[in-house]
């Protein structure tokens, strides 16, 4: 993503977080407190987690318990309305830039499925094939094909077809959706969008006019076949925090065109296997665990490539314990090990040096293998017809059941 030349220096000194680039300061870790400050969103504290548990009468999702989803905007309003009996709908999406999905990609979808089940609300999922066509210079056909392939992995996360509408921009933009896009576009000056997203004079006009496409699924009137009588319906958007700029823009525009501001619930970035400072990249298959990895692959990747906080020798390790701050297996277990008590135990023992890195890695391999297996089985049950059905513009009469 090009940046203005004169801003270059300034950017290098700070961390960069936007939809197309995420990098920490000086190759260090992302400072989430600073990010929340800079973006202006709120911390998700324990009181929220407890409230969600009360309202949904079920244990909160592991991502909530462990602070993976750690920031929000207006979540309290959504919960207040829900308590009064006013429902909401969920909106999330994926930019289909590659066929191979890794675990980091699945995180917002796993969490969104939990939200759909717990609150019993409908969900729209946007596949921004047009965005990837523009930014990654893919052909139209290729980006559409990737969108459908990714849809299969998304469906495999377990969404309920009677409450879920998946759409690709190339298929769906038009009609009421486009009307909202124009309404939004009229409210955002060129200067503003350059300021938010960092476009330059060299960027083509497709990029400059894309942001409204990702903004308008936040408005129920964009989906007349779903929400025709419910113009007042609120929207909650689970996403990774790098998507915040789109929705800052959307929230700014919404009241001006008579709509509710969408609420957000935002997640941390999923670290690469090589550590927080490493980048997960599609060109390096060893930087992440893919949903197509075999048990053997997972074992190899974790054993050979996971960055650990263990000490160099067993003696040193027993003496000083592991550095949990940088240890990737612990971080991954934080995401995926359901049992709170077991995780605490591992952290305690490993941090004290009584448990060795090998053991922690072994447990992680078990957890990841089970996860990937379950996903693969679910994926095998997804047919092209099922994708067609999820993506069909059809009413969802039971979406709040």
């Amino acid at each position: 993503m090009e940046k203005k030349e004169d801003q270059q220096l300034q950017q290098e000194e700070e961390q960069v977080v936007n939809p197309w680039e995420v990098s920490a300061k000086d190759g260090g870790k992302i400072d989430y407190d600073k990010l929340i400050d800079k973006f202006g969103c709120q911390r998700l504290d324990q009181s929220f987690v407890d409230r969600v548990q009360r309202l949904t009468s079920r244990p909160p999702h592991v991502f909530l318990r462990r602070g993976v989803f750690f920031a929000h905007r207006d979540l309290n309003e959504i919960l207040d309305a829900y308590e009064r009996g006013d429902k909401f709908y969920l909106y999330t999406g994926r930019g289909p830039s590659s066929e191979a999905l890794h675990l980091g990609h699945l995180i917002p979808f796993m969490f969104t499925k939990y939200l759909q089940d717990a609150f019993k609300v409908p969900l729209v999922i946007q596949l921004t094939d047009d965005e990837k066509c523009m930014w990654k210079n893919l052909s139209v056909e290729e980006s559409q094909r990737l969108a459908r392939e990714n849809a299969k992995d998304i469906i495999a996360c377990g969404f309920d077809i009677s409450k879920t509408f998946i759409f690709s921009d190339f298929d769906y933009v038009g009609g009421a959706f486009y009307k909202n896009m124009v309404k939004v576009a009229k409210c955002v000056t060129y200067n503003k969008v350059v300021g938010i997203f960092g476009f330059t004079g060299e960027d083509h006009i497709g990029k400059v006019s894309f942001p409204p496409v990702q903004a308008v699924p936040s408005f129920p009137s964009s989906f007349p076949h779903l929400f025709s009588s419910k113009d007042d319906l609120r929207c909650l958007i689970p996403c990774a925090i790098d998507q915040d700029p789109y929705f800052r823009m959307t929230r700014d525009v919404a009241p001006r065109i008579g709509y509710h501001k969408p609420a957000l619930i935002e997640s941390l970035f999923f670290p690469a296997l090589q550590g927080e400072t490493g980048k997960m990249s599609a060109s390096d298959p060893n930087s992440a665990i893919y949903v197509t990895d075999s048990a053997k692959d997972i074992k190899f990747k974790v054993n050979k490539h996971a960055f650990t906080g263990g000490q160099e020798s067993i003696e040193k390790h027993r003496q000083y314990g592991a550095n949990l701050e940088v240890d990737i297996p612990i971080k991954y277990l934080n995401f995926f090990l359901e049992d709170d008590a077991e995780l605490e135990h591992i952290k305690k023992e490993y941090g004290a040096g009584r448990m060795l890195t090998g053991e922690v890695k072994k447990r992680l391999i078990e957890v990841l293998t089970e996860l990937v297996e379950r996903h693969r089985r679910a994926r095998a049950a997804v047919t092209d017809e099922m994708v067609d059905a999820f993506m069909a513009v059809r009413p969802l009469p039971n979406m709040f059941d």
């Binding site: 309920d160 077809i161 679910a378 095998a380 049950a381 047919t383 017809e385 099922m386 067609d388 059905a389």
Partner: protein, 319 residues
């Protein structure tokens, strides 16, 4: 109404397909046809109109000399040994809209033949020209494979040629090599008197062969996949997950039984005694709840998809 031979010939000319035509008295067999055009510089073709047990239709178009064994073809299509028969006469008229003795790939120009699968003998490609009937058996036209392909593409088909004489083994590890030729889409024609409406059993949903990739993954030996246990009944097509209530229940019972057995051991009996029942139930509910819900969601989504597919292929009542 089906296309007439004149309409077809006009269309061939419009597509700029090079062909020669010869009129002759009506012929019903290849031998009879040979008398009139056998020496006109083109190979003769024999064309078979076939039907399988699920009322799907096929045209096999081959050089007159190519040996076509229906038993072998049936296996290669995945229909088992005796799955293919000659189609009844009425089907010729209803589906191909041609008279007896006039089966020809050109009949695929008709809308009624939309779901008929075409198997072309690769021998046709070796000939300079090949003879076919253009919807009427008082004419024969000869054209080359390239011209035939052009015509077929204009009907929206993708022509592909097969070695019809090959006899590859078909078994557990060797899937039927012609399985892709099984037609998709509805083939029920209520007017044909000797056809019972195709009773769609749960594995018989006409889901297109485009699901091959999903099916290939399904056939890999991986854990509890719902459809790995589904051996192709009738060897119909690669197993496609269907909302089979019986199998679903079996999977649920399997999971529960496995957990139950692991929970009940000498140690656990000693530990909990009479309370073992309550203890086991609690554990089962805790461990299995999410797993079983996921299975149920997959089942629901599959059933919904079957209904959706049926809905979009629904043929409104004729008034």
């Amino acid at each position: 109404m089906g296309s007439s031979k004149d309409q077809l010939l006009v269309r061939l000319k419009e597509l700029q397909i090079d062909f020669s035509q010869y009129e002759h008295p009506v012929v019903l067999t290849v031998e009879a046809q040979a008398k009139y055009v056998g020496n006109k510089g083109g190979a003769l073709s024999k064309n078979l109109f076939l039907k399988d047990k699920k009322h799907r239709y096929y045209i096999v178009s081959a050089l007159a000399d190519t040996k076509v064994d229906l038993k072998v073809l049936s296996q290669r299509l995945g229909l088992g040994k005796g799955g293919l028969r000659m189609a009844p006469e009425q089907a010729l008229g209803e589906i191909l809209q041609v008279p007896l003795g006039c089966v020809t790939p050109f009949a695929l120009v008709n809308e009624s033949a939309r779901h008929v699968s075409l198997l072309l003998d690769q021998g046709i490609k070796t000939q300079e020209r090949c003879f076919f009937h253009p919807l009427s058996n008082d004419i024969s036209i000869s054209l080359d494979a390239h011209g035939l392909d052009k015509f077929l593409k204009s009907t929206g088909r993708d022509p592909s040629y097969v070695d019809l004489e090959a006899n590859p083994p078909v078994g557990k590890d060797q899937p039927p090599d012609l399985a892709a030729f099984i037609p998709s889409g509805s083939t029920v024609l209520p007017d044909l008197p000797d056809e019972a409406p195709a009773s769609q059993d749960s594995t018989g949903n006409h889901v297109s062969a485009g699901t091959k990739s999903a099916a290939v993954i399904a056939v890999k030996p991986s854990g509890n996949v719902q459809n790995v246990k589904e051996k192709p009944v009738n060897g119909a097509r690669p197993s496609i997950p269907s909302a089979n209530a019986g199998k679903f229940v079996e999977e649920l019972l399997d999971k529960t039984s496995t957990l139950l057995l692991s929970e009940i051991s000498e140690d656990s009996i000693k530990q909990h005694g009479g309370q073992l029942g309550t203890e086991v139930v609690n554990n089962i509910q805790k461990c299995l709840r999410e797993d079983l819900k996921n299975l149920a969601t997959i089942f629901k989504n599959t059933a919904y998809t079957e209904g959706f597919y049926a809905g979009i292929h629904y043929q409104p009542k004729r008034l």
